[in-house]
Symmetry: C3
Subunit: 202 residues, 3 copies
């Protein structure tokens, strides 16, 4: 199992835990928790696959959804133990950042192999990273957190630009994907530590 597979599994589990926690807190039932948890983990990739005209990978294979479902079970157990409050916020933020890096990179790779423009690559990479969280917030009738707070989507955007530039200067696709992951993860960790925010204008 390579580092890539490991990062994706960490991402699926942590995204599913984050989504399930939101659902438990809102008082959703077991089905609602399962939908929120799995959609947070898989929704970004499903949306990206729809946009490039593929049947979503999550519906064709069983691995991704199995990990997402395992994340839902994990969340229910963790919630009973910790009541949704972790003393150490890094306990969930760091795995989530690894997931963001892994998903963004998958998105960039699939976009690169499709018939899309520079903007298309940036959008599909970012959407793969943040789409699941947006869908779960919409299902809860909330303005998606990623549109209001934090320096989160911006990490994906910068990573996708790094991926594109790497390929433009002649670096091979595999190494460009690695660079994308490292850039997203590094910037996200800085953003967490220094509590970066984007400007508002109202």
């Amino acid at each position: 199992m390579d580092i890539w597979t490991v990062m994706n599994i960490i991402g699926l589990l942590s995204f599913a835990v984050v989504g399930s926690f939101k659902a438990i807190r809102e008082g959703l039932d077991l089905f609602g928790i399962t939908v929120l948890g799995t959609m947070t983990a898989l929704g970004g990739g499903i949306t990206r696959d729809l946009l490039v005209n593929n049947i979503p990978n999550a519906l064709k294979t069983t691995t991704d959804i199995t990990f997402a479902l395992f994340g839902v079970v994990l969340a229910i157990v963790l919630y009973q133990i910790f009541k949704g409050e972790f003393k150490n916020k890094y306990f969930i933020l760091i795995p989530d950042a690894i997931g963001l890096a892994a998903f963004t990179t998958t998105g960039a790779l699939i976009a690169y192999s499709s018939d899309v423009s520079f903007f298309g690559i940036i959008i599909l990479a970012t959407l793969t990273g943040i789409g699941g969280g947006i869908i779960s917030d919409i299902l809860l009738g909330k303005i998606p957190t990623v549109l209001k707070d934090d320096f989160y989507a911006s990490c994906s955007i910068i990573g996708a630009i790094a991926f594109y530039l790497s390929i433009q200067i002649g670096i091979n696709v595999g190494s460009s994907a690695f660079i994308c992951s490292v850039v997203v993860l590094t910037i996200r960790i800085f953003a967490i530590i220094y509590e970066w925010k984007l400007p508002r204008f109202n």
Copy 2:
């Protein structure tokens, strides 16, 4: 006209009535009522068709949308008469249950003929049954009822599993579809009578 066609028509009409009632109660205008009514009836099937990469059947033929539009008109008339309150709740819940059974089975059949996994069949069957209701709740800015209350999506999931198992043990597709319908409808009626609920964890 076979039993199958009849079930689908009952489903389109009752789903459109349920969706239109929600829209009328929220004070939407005639266009809003039409969108909510038709999307509740057709939204699950449209989403499923998108996921398996088909142009939605509802856009290619005129029958489904005609029944959905008829359901919207029916709802506006019924609302004037009953003011949205039916003395007998079974008056709407039983046709709705028939629709859930018909739509879940259509979804299972289309998923089975596509390139998806076991989980893909369950998801697409359930989504065909409950997707329209979820979309209409999202359009009203509400948490979809199906994620919070009732034993509704679970009927679709159990029906889809019954469909899959039937095929695995060698029963032909037609009979498996029939079994799926009967399972969804039976379980849903029990759920209505005994007011089943799924557990919550908050």
Copy 3:
């Protein structure tokens, strides 16, 4: 540059400005404003392309998204100057009406060249015109304005019917598209001036 291109550019800019203004007022950050602005401009077309099984044009080319992004920048500047209040409401409503006409017509043309029914053409034309606004309202957790107030989607529906009838009586596609645009724009301007509304039933 023909009238058609000009109308589309006016539409992209004015839709992006309208969406960005909503985002700024809700206190979204720079990323949120960019998403709301670009999705208001491009979301209708993207949804239509998904439904007819095309990779969205907005992801394949760079022109549309460039104009949408320019609209976002324009909105931020205009907001600082006017604080989101224009003394003359026609300043934004007329360009928005031109956009509605242009987008509806594009939608009708693409639907006509796809394998969809009469209803499919009406739905895809209208969706191309109003889909972006609906998506941005959903992202803000609001009931889409177009479902509640105003005589807006109705202009697209009437324009799409005019397009369909023109083709049925033997007018060529180009002239039918022109008729569609003129009908949408004219009716929309009347609707603005005379404050037309659709009936409600609650």
